[in-house]
C-alpha cells in the first residue's frame, strides 16, 4: 500500500472509532465536560435501588441527574443532585423517588415549592418522600389496611 493511502485509511479508522467512542461517552454515558450546575442534596429513608445517573424531573421534564449516593451516619441515603443551572428550588421543595411504570427505572421527582426562600447551591432539600415499595403495598392490602 502506498504511504499516503496507508495513513489515510488508518486515519479514517481512528476517526470513526473515536467518533463512536465520543457518542457512547457523551450521549449515553452523560460525561460532562462542564461539570457545573445547581447542586443540592437530600436525605431519604429508602431509595430502594435508585442508581447513580438516574434522572431528576420537575413536572415530567428531565432537569438533571443523581450525581452520587452515600449512606449517612444516621443510616439514611444521601443523594447529591446536579440540576440545570438557572433552576430555582425553594426551601419547601419536596423530593420523592418514583418509578416509571411497574418495572421501569427509578427517578427523583422534584416539586420546586413556592416559599420565596431559595435553596442555595449545595443546600439541602428538607422534605423527602421515600420510594413506594410494591411489597409493602401488597402486604398492606392483604392485611386490609388500605
Amino acid at each position: 500500500m502506498k504511504r499516503g493511502n496507508l495513513e489515510l485509511v488508518v486515519g479514517i479508522f481512528v476517526l470513526a472509532g473515536l467518533a463512536c467512542l465520543a457518542y457512547l461517552a457523551v450521549h449515553l454515558g452523560k460525561m460532562e465536560f462542564f461539570g457545573h450546575g445547581y447542586q443540592v442534596y437530600a436525605n431519604f429513608d429508602n431509595i430502594s435501588g435508585l442508581k447513580d445517573g438516574a434522572s431528576v424531573e420537575i413536572a415530567g421534564v428531565d432537569v438533571g441527574r443523581v450525581e452520587s449516593i452515600k449512606l449517612t451516619p444516621e443510616d439514611q441515603a444521601k443523594l447529591v443532585l446536579r440540576l440545570q443551572p438557572g433552576l430555582k428550588l425553594y426551601d419547601d421543595a419536596i423530593a420523592s423517588i418514583r418509578t416509571k411504570g411497574i418495572i421501569g427505572d427509578k427517578f427523583v421527582k422534584l416539586s420546586p415549592g413556592s416559599s420565596g426562600k431559595v435553596i442555595p447551591n449545595g443546600g439541602r432539600i428538607r422534605d423527602t418522600e421515600s420510594a413506594v415499595e410494591w411489597e409493602d403495598l401488597i402486604a398492606k392490602y392483604i392485611q386490609g389496611k388500605v
Binding site: 496507508l6 467512542l21 457512547l24 461517552a25 450521549h27 449515553l28 452523560k30 411504570g101 421501569g104
Partner: protein, 256 residues
C-alpha cells in the same frame, strides 16, 4: 498411581511456565515501546492489519448481533407490556458484554491467527534471526507495534461495534417491529451509566492486549517447520478465545 500423577504434574508445570513466559514477553514488548528508535510507520501498518482490516467483519457481526438482540428482546419484553425497555436492553447488553467479547473473538479469529502465522513463518524461515544480525531487535520491530496496535485498535473496533449494534437494534425494533423511536433512544440514554461505558472500554483494552500477546507469543516461539506454524495458529485461536471469555467473567465481577 504415579503413572497418572506424573503427567498431570508435568502438564501443570508446563502450563504455569508458559503463562509466566507469556507475561514476561508482554512486559518486555511493552517496555520496548519507550526505547528508541521509534518507528511510527510500523505502528500504522499494524493498526491497518489488525484494526482497519477487521472493520468489515466487525460491522457485519455488530449489525446482526444488534438485530437479533432487538428481536429476542422484543418478544420477551412484549409479554410484560414493556417494549419501551427494548432500547436499554439492547444498549446494555451490547455495551457491557456483547460488544467487547464479540469484537475480541472476531479480532482473534481474523487478526490473531494472521499475526501468529506471520511471526511463525518469520521464525521458521529465520527472518527474525536475520533482523537480529542486522542489529534490529525483532521484539521491537515485529512484536511491539502489534501489541500497541491491539491496544489501540480493539477498543476503537468495540466502540464501532456498540454503535452499529445499537443502530441494528433500531432497525429491527423501531423500523420493523414498531417500538416508538423516542422510547428506544431515551430508554437507552436513561439506563446506560458511565460505569457501563468505562467497563466496556477497560474490557476491550484487556482483550486487545490479551489476543495480540497470545498471538505474538505463539508465533515467536514456533518450532518444527510448517506443522509448527499450523499448531501455533490453532493454539492461538483456541487459547485467546478461552482467555477472552475467562477475563470477561473476572472483569465483570470486578465492575458490576
Amino acid at each position: 498411581m504415579a503413572i497418572f500423577i506424573r503427567p498431570l504434574g508435568r502438564w501443570v508445570l508446563n502450563w504455569v511456565q508458559e503463562a509466566g513466559a507469556m507475561l514476561l514477553f508482554l512486559l518486555q514488548g511493552l517496555a520496548l515501546a519507550f526505547v528508541p528508535p521509534f518507528r511510527p510507520r510500523r505502528l500504522l501498518q499494524e493498526i491497518n492489519l489488525i484494526g482497519v482490516k477487521s472493520t468489515l467483519i466487525v460491522l457485519l457481526t455488530a449489525a446482526f448481533t444488534g438485530m437479533v438482540l432487538a428481536l429476542q428482546g422484543y418478544y420477551t419484553l412484549r409479554k410484560y407490556g414493556s417494549e419501551g425497555a427494548l432500547g436499554s436492553a439492547v444498549a446494555l447488553s451490547l455495551i457491557r458484554e456483547m460488544g467487547p467479547v464479540l469484537t475480541a473473538l472476531m479480532v482473534s479469529a481474523r487478526a490473531g491467527s494472521a499475526v501468529t502465522a506471520e511471526i511463525g513463518i518469520m521464525r521458521i524461515t529465520e527472518q527474525l534471526d536475520a533482523l537480529d544480525t542486522m542489529a534490529v531487535n525483532p521484539m521491537q520491530y515485529v512484536v511491539m507495534p502489534k501489541l500497541l496496535a491491539g491496544l489501540i485498535a480493539v477498543p476503537l473496533l468495540t466502540a464501532i461495534f456498540d454503535v452499529v449494534g445499537i443502530l441494528g437494534g433500531y432497525l429491527v425494533g423501531v423500523v420493523l417491529l414498531g417500538v416508538s423511536s423516542g422510547a428506544y433512544f431515551s430508554g437507552m440514554v436513561q439506563s446506560v451509566v458511565p460505569l457501563d461505558i468505562n467497563g466496556g472500554i477497560v474490557k476491550s483494552l484487556v482483550f486487545g492486549l490479551t489476543i495480540i500477546m497470545v498471538a505474538s507469543f505463539k508465533g515467536y516461539y514456533t518450532e518444527h517447520g510448517a506443522e509448527g506454524v499450523s499448531r501455533a495458529t490453532n493454539q492461538t485461536v483456541v487459547l485467546s478465545a478461552v482467555l477472552v471469555l475467562a477475563w470477561d467473567y473476572i472483569l465483570t465481577s470486578f465492575f458490576m
